[in-house]
Structures are given as structure tokens and as C-alpha cells.
């Protein structure tokens, strides 16, 4: 792959709205991605392997639980810092960002928000340092957009719970040390359980032959009469709202992450268009290429402002699930459209691993589907503005 020459676009001077610390955090993540991710990520994506050697670096830049309080090993940063870190990581690769999103929003967040003090102390510092990795089990083979139909269940056996069922499309599952698993009790109420690798009857087979998120490990979680200690139940929230709370946090991070992927595609296409000579002039001097590039920077700028405002609302505790759905849906579609247009600007070169565009484009096919599909998010907005849920 070519050297990473990325220069971040900031057409509306969003930097002026950021604090000194936001920029310090963002620039550190940006520098780290350039140094440790860009040079290796294409090779790992090509061989469909997660680069485990970067876990320490992800922890160092604060990608694991940046908004978790310092007392539990987090960085105690605000939501805009979290968003900026996700943006920079996804500028490198959506798969790497997925690993960080899962660890922060889907593992650390529920343990911090729904867990006991003992659970927080036992797991959060190790998750923040990357010494322990986690995954999140909600989606099942027969229940994707409709998680409330889940079949995974647990029974109270007196001194422990007995867990049975299966989860699918689980990022980090093949190497995770713990899984936050959502399952129904005998009354049909959804609860979260922390399942640890090594518990008898718990296995995590890897999903192979993906054309997307190839540098990220995806797999299943299989529970065959797994005995889970009672101390591993997350006691402070139950019902579908509990896992959906985690998804709100992750979806918020994705709305920033997608901007990173889009920025990388735009920056690559802009540089290429200015250098590529056809008919005696740079293709950037032609109207059709300018249309593509001008629309890209317009859409990136709109997405940045959407994410920034959503970050302010998150900081104030005022962001609604529907507002987060709008940002995730808009920004991921923006990114995938830009990836496709940028690929065209590069012509044949755009399909090679010399450039990051096709990798981003393929990654974004997962991002537009996971954490609530593009269609489901539209229906969330629809239900929010009309008052009529139209999911079924």
C-alpha cells in the first residue's frame, strides 16, 4: 500500500468548535493511525486477519472506554472526544474501529452502567488497558432486526444460571476473553450476563470468507448448558432497553467513525484527481470529477456538523435514540456513497489494494447493516415523527 498522506478536510473550521483537549486527543489518535495502522492494515485485510499487535496501541490512545471514569481505568473524556477517536480509527479501517466500539460501548458501557461495583472493579480496568477483550451477544441466527424474539435463555438453578442458545455476527468473538450476553429468563425478561472464556459449554467459532471487515474477527457464541455464576448477572437494568442503551452509545460512535472513512476516501480521490493527467490536464480540472469531489466535501461537512451537535446533546444527556439513529443512518450512507464515487475517480487504480478506498467501501457494507440496518433506522425516525411504529 502507498504511504499514508492523509490530510483531514475541515471545510467549515469545525476545529474552532473543539477544545484544546479534543484536538490533542484527536491528533494523537490520528498520528497513531498513521504510524501503526495504515502501514499494515491492507495486508491484514487481504489475509483476513485481525492485527492483534495493535490492541496495546488502541488502549494507549484511549480507544477503550474513553468516557468511562478514571476510577475504573477509563479516560473520563466527553462524548465528542469519544467520537473523534472513533473517526480517526475508522479513517484507518472500519474493522479496527468496530473492535474499539464493541469494547467501549457494548462491553464496558453495560458493565459500568448496569453492573455492580464488584463487576466494575473486576472487569473495567483490564478492559480499558486491553489486557482483557470483550464482545457483545445480542443478534441471533433467527433474530436480527427483531432482537426481542431472541431464543437464548437462562434458567435459575439455585446457585448458578444455566445458559443455552447461540449468537451470530459477533465482532471480537474469536479472541474475546468475556462476552456480555443478552438472554431471556424463565419469565421471558431480557437480562445481561457476563460469560467468560473457559466456562464449560461456551465456544466461539469464527465466521470465515467475509468480503467486509476482513481485518476484524467475527464469529458466533454458542452456549451449551453453560453454568454462569449468579454474580455475573448485570443487575441494574433488564428488558430490551438495556441492550438498546448500549447500541445507542455504539451507534453514536459509528456516526463519527463513518466520517473518518469518508474523509480518507475523499482525501485520496482529491489527491489522485489533481495528479492524474488525461487529455493533457489533471482530471480534477474536469467538471464531472469536480461534481463528485464538491459533493463529497459538502456531504462530509454536513455529517461533521450533525455528529458534533449530537455530541453536544450526548454530553448534556439530552440525545434521544431517534436522534442517534438519524446520525448513524445519514453518516454511514454518506460514507458508502463517497467510497463508491471516490472509487470511480481513481478508475482502475481504485480497485487495487494500493489505495484504501475499496477496503473502506466493502467495510461500510457491514457498517450500514450492523447496529441497526439502514432501513430500521429510517423506521425509527418514521415512528418518532409520526407516532406510528411501522416495523412490522
Amino acid at each position: 500500500m502507498r504511504p499514508d498522506l492523509f490530510e483531514a478536510p475541515d471545510y467549515y473550521h469545525l476545529d474552532d468548535l473543539l477544545s484544546e483537549e479534543h484536538k490533542l486527543v484527536r491528533d494523537a489518535a490520528r498520528q497513531w493511525v498513521k504510524r501503526d495502522v495504515s502501514p499494515i492494515i491492507e495486508a491484514y485485510a487481504q489475509k483476513a486477519e485481525f492485527p492483534k499487535q495493535i490492541l496495546g496501541g488502541l488502549a494507549e490512545i484511549g480507544a477503550f472506554g474513553p468516557y468511562i471514569p478514571e476510577a475504573y481505568g477509563g479516560a473520563g473524556l466527553d462524548q465528542i472526544s469519544y467520537g473523534l477517536i472513533m473517526q480517526e480509527i475508522e479513517r484507518g479501517d472500519s474493522g479496527v474501529r468496530s473492535t474499539a466500539s464493541v469494547q467501549s460501548s457494548l462491553v464496558m458501557y453495560p458493565i459500568y452502567t448496569y453492573g455492580t461495583e464488584e463487576q466494575r472493579k473486576k472487569y473495567l480496568p483490564k478492559l480499558a488497558s486491553g489486557e482483557m477483550m470483550g464482545c457483545f451477544g445480542l443478534t441471533e441466527p433467527n433474530h436480527g432486526s427483531n432482537p426481542s424474539g431472541m431464543e437464548t435463555k437462562f434458567k435459575d438453578m439455585g446457585d448458578h444460571y444455566l445458559l443455552n442458545g447461540a449468537k451470530l455476527w459477533i465482532s471480537n468473538s474469536p479472541f474475546a476473553d468475556i462476552a456480555v450476553v443478552w438472554a431471556k429468563n424463565e419469565e421471558g425478561r431480557i437480562h445481561g450476563l457476563i460469560v467468560e472464556r473457559g466456562m464449560e459449554g461456551f465456544s466461539t467459532p469464527e465466521t470465515h470468507n467475509k468480503w467486509s471487515l476482513r481485518a476484524s474477527a467475527t464469529g458466533e457464541l454458542i452456549f451449551d448448558n453453560v453454568k454462569v455464576p449468579k454474580a455475573n448477572l448485570l443487575p441494574n437494568k433488564s428488558g430490551l432497553g438495556a441492550p438498546l442503551g448500549c447500541l445507542d452509545s455504539a451507534r453514536y460512535g459509528i456516526s463519527w467513525g463513518a466520517i473518518g472513512a469518508a474523509m480518507d476516501c475523499y482525501d485520496t480521490a482529491l489527491r489522485y484527481a489533481k495528479e492524474r493527467i488525461q487529455f493533457g490536464k489533471p482530471i480534477a480540472a474536469t467538471q464531472l470529477q469536480q461534481k463528485k469531489l464538491a459533493e463529497m466535501i459538502t456531504e462530509i461537512t454536513k455529517a461533521q456538523l450533525l455528529a458534533f451537535r449530537l455530541g453536544q446533546l450526548k454530553n448534556e444527556g439530552k440525545a434521544t435514540s431517534a436522534q442517534i439513529s438519524m446520525a448513524k443512518r445519514n453518516n454511514v450512507e454518506m460514507a458508502i456513497t463517497i467510497a463508491r464515487e471516490a472509487r470511480q475517480v481513481l478508475g482502475g487504480m481504485g480497485i487495487t489494494g494500493e489505495y484504501s478506498i475499496m477496503r473502506h467501501m466493502m467495510n461500510l457494507e457491514s457498517v450500514i447493516t450492523y447496529e441497526g440496518t439502514h432501513d430500521i433506522h429510517l423506521l425509527i425516525t418514521g415512528a418518532d415523527i409520526t407516532g406510528f411504529p411501522a416495523f412490522q
Binding site: E7, E20, E21, K23, L24, V25, D27, A28, Q31, W32, R35, E60, I61, G62, P66, E70, A75, G76
Partner: protein, 246 residues
């Protein structure tokens, strides 16, 4: 050992350079600022002394409030304290007078300044500092070891290297070689969090003469058209007869 690293706030090397006010003032609009690379090599070497020999590391910058993000980054990398002299650094002599005042007050054993800043490339400050303070001085320093009161410094000289031995207190004009680019540190989250609590003292400048004044900046002439030639003979002919350089 008490170390002061002098840090200049300079435009990132990829910045597009423009001037305003009739080409007399640098246009900072849209420019990203960074730690002067020659200073960053020095800061990183100072961090080595901190980790291995328990040194205390302060940083000092002459600049207005806008330089504080660069200073905060140096604190996040690991410097213990920062001092900002609240003045626009427009003249090497003026800057050196300000820093000399701080060095005298702080009783530093070792002062590391970049050999030159990469914006105005004056290359004056470390030398003037040594004169003002009567301290030992090694310029263009590419390696530095300190053992007790003795310093061994390696200096880049024309076509080779020179190893010198001297004593503290010492001023170094540092550059790449003090550490390598691969040794430079990205601030980690712990460092950024700790930097929040570190002291950044702002002091007003002392009376000092600004010995020079910028009257005009000129950008290099735009590159002319390229002439492609087909053979070595023709190239030699043109270089000899037309360009008259060989």
C-alpha cells in the same frame, strides 16, 4: 538533573505558506502548528533522561496564548511543568533574553534548544543564550550522555562527527540524532489526562531590545516549465552552452 527544553511553536511542514500586510506578516489562517521538530528531538531525549536518570523536565516557550496547545502536547508527552513568556517571538535576540531570564531563575543544569526553528530558521537562540548566561555550549548536537557533572556530546561537523566532553551547566543546540524519528512519542491517554493537572505558568516578558524587524517576505519563484531532452549529449550541450553550469 534539572532540564529546560526550549520549544518553538511552528507551522506544520505540510502547511501552505502565505503572507499578509504587504508581505510583511505571516498568514496563520488555516495553518496547523506543531512542536518545532528540532525541539521535539530534544524533548524526547529529555524524556529519556527523565526515565533513566530521574531528571526533572520543564519546557519554556515565548509566545502568545495560541501556543498553549503545543505546550500542552509537550506536557502530555511527559514534561513536568511549562512556562510561557507572553510575547510574540519576532526576534532571536529578544527570545534569547526572555529565555535567559527564565534559565537564571530556574537554575537549570541542562538547557536543550533546537539548533534552529523550522519557520524562520534564525539558528541564533541557543548561541545567544550561552553567551548571555556564560554556560558551556554545544551546537548541532546529535548525541548526548550525562554522567554526574560531565556531559559527552557528539556534534555533526562537515563530513563527520566530533565527540566533545564538557561539564554542566550546559546548553545544547539539538537536532535529529539526539533521538531518531522512530523514537518520537505520540501522547498517550494517560499522558493527556495527566497534562490537565500540570502547571503552565504564564509570565510577562522582561524589557528587551528587538534587534531586528521583518520588513518583507518573498516566496521562492514559482517553478518554471520543464524542458524534456531526448539524449545525454543534448543534455550536456544545454547545461554547458545554455545554462552554463558545467
Amino acid at each position: 538533573m534539572k532540564i529546560l527544553v526550549c520549544i518553538s511553536n511552528v507551522p506544520d511542514t505540510t502547511s501552505k505558506i502565505n503572507f499578509t500586510e504587504g508581505d510583511t506578516k505571516f498568514d496563520t489562517n488555516g495553518v496547523q502548528f506543531v512542536i518545532n521538530p528540532n525541539d521535539e528531538f530534544g524533548l524526547t531525549r529529555a524524556m529519556w533522561f527523565k526515565e533513566k536518570q530521574g531528571a526533572t523536565v520543564h519546557i519554556a516557550t515565548v509566545g502568545e496564548a495560541s501556543v498553549e496547545p503545543t505546550m500542552r502536547k509537550a506536557l502530555a508527552i511527559g514534561a513536568d511543568e511549562a512556562i510561557r513568556v507572553n510575547a510574540l517571538p519576532t526576534d532571536g535576540f529578544f527570545v534569547a533574553e526572555q529565555l535567559a531570564h527564565i534559565i537564571k531563575d530556574g537554575a537549570y543544569d541542562l538547557v536543550i534548544a533546537g539548533r534552529e526553528s523550522i519557520d524562520y530558521n534564525g539558528g541564533m537562540v541557543p548561541g545567544i543564550l550561552a553567551t548571555l548566561l556564560g554556560m558551556n555550549f554545544v551546537n548541532s548536537c546529535i548525541n548526548l550522555e550525562v554522567d554526574g557533572n560531565t556531559a559527552t556530546a557528539v556534534r555533526e561537523i562537515d563530513g563527520g562527527k566530533e565527540t566533545l566532553q564538557t561539564t554542566l551547566p550546559l546548553i545544547i543546540g539539538g537536532q535529529k540524532g539526539l533521538v531518531e524519528e522512530s523514537d518520537l512519542k505520540i501522547p498517550n491517554m494517560r499522558g493527556i489526562m495527566m497534562a490537565r493537572k500540570k502547571t503552565l505558568t504564564v509570565v510577562e516578558p522582561i524589557e528587551a531590545v528587538k534587534a531586528t524587524k521583518d520588513t518583507k517576505f518573498d516566496k521562492p519563484a514559482a517553478k518554471g516549465a520543464v524542458k524534456l531532452v531526448d539524449s545525454v549529449d543534448e543534455l550536456v550541450n544545454l547545461l554547458h552552452n545554455e545554462a552554463k553550469v558545467i
